[in-house]
């Protein structure tokens, strides 16, 4: 039976992991995501479903435990926050290369370095442009509510196993720490080892029985083989763009101006849209739910309709680059966002829209065109 609860985003994610029939979670504490492992340890999922929960000695060890369990076809996940996710990048790159399904959660805090424990969206580049070394991408889901923190666990595993690839849930301290109403999904039974071997036995290292040996590796010393592997990965990413793009539009039908924002910034921007409309300014919001794949075509089309676009992010300007690429200079695109753990208010977003786009849009548009000609 589904259940209604008031929960923190981090707790909802942890509870969803148990209910989704996840086999194992390996993690390491770091603010602002420690509630995930704390919740899991308190809930004793080993008694509820047989799920394994282990506190590793480091983020590096945790992601490699995920690598090990994922290589046997198990449903396995980890979570961390920005500095910890940096440490996990080696393992994530290996998993992308070795084509392993897994879910990684980043409850982002401000950086660079030790930075701040307060919310941030400054890991956008790291998340969608690779993160670790090599030619790979992650499918990136960006929850904007506690409900989505819960729902996206199942969605992320579906994608991870559909493509046999690591999937990232890119949250932030605001979504992780806030409480909202959440409808929890029904308990899904964990897959039995027998069924797992039936489903994943053709690739997973479950022990060589009635078949040739399975090998999990990201190494190809022969260049032609390695290139073939890279091409195989790129095909997955094309397919993700065709089949699994997700986004949401709010008040875009008659919009003269557009805000693009994901996660917590999308929530704040939605309020800015409300405030703008009260003032008689027709603003719409495009919320990418997946950051890769990115709603490029939708942005390109909306650029035919609106006079300018503001990319609102809790960072110094990252997604704005992808927005600019998508709209191909058709309209001015500007960035607004606070950093250092400061969260922009809806009022600040509206003010930025008015100053950067509505009042100066034409002038900047002109300048952009000239510079692009030069």
């Amino acid at each position: 039976m589904s259940e209604l609860k008031l929960m923190k985003g981090n707790e909802a994610l942890a509870e969803a992991a148990i209910r989704a029939g996840v086999d194992a979670y390996f993690g390491y504490p770091i603010t602002p995501q420690s509630e995930v492992i704390e919740y899991l340890m308190t809930e004793r999922p080993e008694l509820r479903t047989g799920m394994v929960v282990l506190q590793a000695e480091s983020e590096v060890a945790a992601i490699n435990m995920v690598y090990g369990a994922a290589s046997t076809g198990k449903k396995v996940m980890t979570s961390s926050s920005s500095p910890g996710i940096s440490l996990k990048q080696e393992g994530i790159s290996y998993m992308a290369g070795a084509e392993l399904p897994a879910v990684i959660v980043n409850v982002v805090r401000g950086g660079p370095g030790l930075g701040t424990i307060q919310p941030s969206q400054a890991d956008y580049f790291q998340s969608v442009k690779g993160g670790g070394h090599g030619d790979y991408k992650l499918y990136v889901l960006a929850p904007a509510s506690v409900q989505e923190m819960s729902d996206f666990v199942t969605d992320a595993f579906d994608i991870a196993f559909k493509y046999r690839a690591p999937v990232l849930i890119l949250s932030d301290g605001l979504i992780g720490q806030m409480m909202e109403k959440v409808v929890l999904k029904d308990q899904v039974e964990r897959i039995s080892d027998k069924d797992l071997i039936k489903m994943n036995g053709y690739w997973a290292t479950t022990g060589k029985k009635d078949r040739e040996r399975n090998i999990i590796t990201s190494l190809d010393l022969q260049s032609e083989k390695m290139e073939a592997r890279v091409h195989r990965l790129q095909k997955k990413y094309v397919k993700m763009e065709l089949e699994d793009l997700r986004y949401e539009t709010i008040d875009c039908e008659d919009a003269d101006y557009l805000i693009v924002a994901y996660g917590s910034s999308a929530r704040i921007s939605q309020k800015a849209v409300e405030l703008a409309r009260k003032k008689g300014i027709k603003v719409g919001l495009l919320r990418p739910i997946t950051l890769f794949p990115f709603p490029k075509k939708q942005l390109f089309d909306l650029a035919n309709q609106v006079k300018g676009i503001l990319s609102v992010e809790l960072n110094a300007g990252q997604m704005v680059e992808d927005v600019k690429l998508a709209v191909e200079h058709k309209v001015p695109v500007e960035h607004f966002g606070r950093t250092g753990g400061i969260i922009h208010t809806p009022e600040e977003v509206l003010e930025a829209l008015e100053q950067k786009i509505i009042n100066h849009g034409h002038f900047r548009h002109h300048k952009t065109r000239e510079s692009s000609i030069l």
């Binding site: 086999d23 194992a24 390996f26 394994v52 282990l54 590793a56 000695e57 480091s58 590096v60 060890a61 945790a62 490699n64 435990m65 995920v66 690598y67 090990g68 369990a69 994922a70 290589s71 046997t72 198990k74 396995v76 080696e90 393992g91 290996y94 070795a98 080892d193 290292t205 479950t206 022990g207 060589k208 029985k209 040996r213 399975n214 090998i215 999990i216 590796t217 990201s218 190494l219 010393l221």
Partner: protein, 257 residues
Amino acid sequence: MDILDIIKPENQVFCKTKLMTDTALSYCPGCGHGTAHNLTMEVIDEMGIVEDTIGVAPVGCSVLAYDFMNIDMTQAAHGRAPAVATGIIRTWPEKYVFTYQGDGDLAAIGTAETIHACNRGENIVIIFINNGIYGMTGGQMAPTTLEGMHTSTSPYGREIKNMGSPLKITELIANLPGVYYVTRQSVHTHKHVRKAKKAIRTAFENTRLKKGLSFVEIVSNCNSGWKMTPNEANIWMEENMFSYFPLGDIKVDGKLK
């Protein structure tokens, strides 16, 4: 008598285990890796546990161990094999999981993973090949390089003051309560090969009995890295390596010797 009259099953006294593939070993002639691979596969074969065995390959000379070992294998990032093995054994507690690692992998970049997997007493086998040098990358200094030993990154010999002492990681982990069996062997003579195989067998039997972590160090040579003929390397190993890394059991049945 024709040769074909001799090649008959009833005359067979030795054969290669079917758990070694026909792929030619990429190791240098005289290297101990081939023997250590073979012993590990023989034990798995003889115990009849191949269907339940998952190996973890390291980064180093044996990075391609999965090309030679005809079993299910996962290749880990440099030093992370014990964490990878932890992920496997925790989700498949009935399996036999082993890592096969060199000295740079296990005792330098992977020290944290090694010590913590040992400390948790993961029910796995760690096979540790110690030849005191980084073979694959071309003979650089390892954590176990002996004092005064010349390598490409200690060209004037390992100097303790700057570079620290050779790390006795095996003695270190033997002190951890989660570790059940620790032994140091070699594979350079028939006698030693037989003892090493017995040690590997004991380690896998411990897994069967869920005793916790078993750790088998094999002190080996690296004639290419040491810049010696195989025979010279073996003699040098006996004269220099064994005095610092003495062979024998260090911990048996959970008790220090």
